[in-house]
């Protein structure tokens, strides 16, 4: 399953690791859409096999607790959880 891409203003590479079943992940995705930034997202719970293991290892690099949502910004900043204020500030 490839990354889904949402077009918007370029604020550097923004990647959202999320779960398709999680409401906080949904709120995070909707916030990014509201901010109209360019970003990619992937639903880790929908992955299978090797692809899943690879992405899990990648998420653990940014967030060893492997919790969702995990948002990775271009400058390397990682925002874990639906931290509305933190996301708005980082992308202002």
């Amino acid at each position: 399953m490839p990354m889904e891409h949402v077009d918007g203003e370029d604020k550097g590479k923004i990647v959202l690791f999320a779960l398709s079943t999680c409401q906080w992940c949904r709120k995070t995705r909707l916030l990014l859409e509201e901010l109209e930034v360019d970003f990619s997202y992937i639903y880790v719970d929908l992955l299978e096999g090797e692809e899943r293991s690879e992405i899990i290892e990648e998420v653990k690099k940014y967030n060893p607790q492997l919790s969702f949502p995990t948002l990775v910004l271009d400058d390397g900043e990682v925002i874990v959880g639906f931290n509305e204020e933190g996301i708005r500030e980082a992308l202002a």
Partner: protein, 171 residues
């Protein structure tokens, strides 16, 4: 889950709401948010065979996920500390009354490398010599005698519904 499953979600909601209120817990009063979570729990039930927390990555192996089957092992400590469970399905009386606002809370579940899976830890029979060395304190409801081993007493006694102030440390 298709459109036809909305009836299944509604039925789940009504049943769970009645059941948890009866034992002193509260579902999130944002019905749309709550039903979306319940729908996801049903999705997980269909997908994994158990209703894993919608906001956590289930492994598909039940023994590894016993702690995150809803209601999860982290619900009560999270209600105690943050007034809501991790996914926001369960909230405290203060959030229900509007005195506090629901926010996303930190993950309490240990990181994958730090988890203890059932069967790996040796929990032998409790001997007398170990009674003073319990991993958690035991709390007793002064009204009905309900005992529970956890960091602090529950907000409301699940048996007789009295408040936490009626609990005393027993062991």
């Amino acid at each position: 889950m298709s459109q036809a499953d909305d009836a299944r979600v509604d039925e789940f909601y009504e049943r769970l709401k009645e059941q948890v209120e009866e034992v002193g817990y509260h579902l999130n009063s944002d019905v749309e948010f709550t039903k979306a979570l319940l729908k996801s729990i049903l999705v997980n039930e269909d997908r994994y065979g158990y209703g894993a927390c919608p906001c956590r990555l289930a492994s598909g192996i039940k023994d590894e996920d016993l702690d995150i089957i809803c209601p999860c092992y982290y619900r009560d400590p999270d209600l105690e500390e943050y007034d809501a469970c991790y996914c926001g399905l369960y909230v405290s009386g203060d959030i229900l009354s509007g005195e506090k606002q629901l926010t996303a809370i930190p993950e309490r579940r240990p990181a994958p490398d730090e988890r203890i899976v059932r069967g790996e830890d040796e929990t032998g029979t409790l001997g007398l010599e170990s009674i003073s060395n319990l991993p958690l304190p035991v709390w007793r409801c002064g009204v009905c005698g309900y005992l529970c081993a956890r960091e602090g007493p529950p907000e409301i006694c699940p048996i007789c519904k009295v408040g936490k102030e009626r609990f005393e440390r027993f062991i």
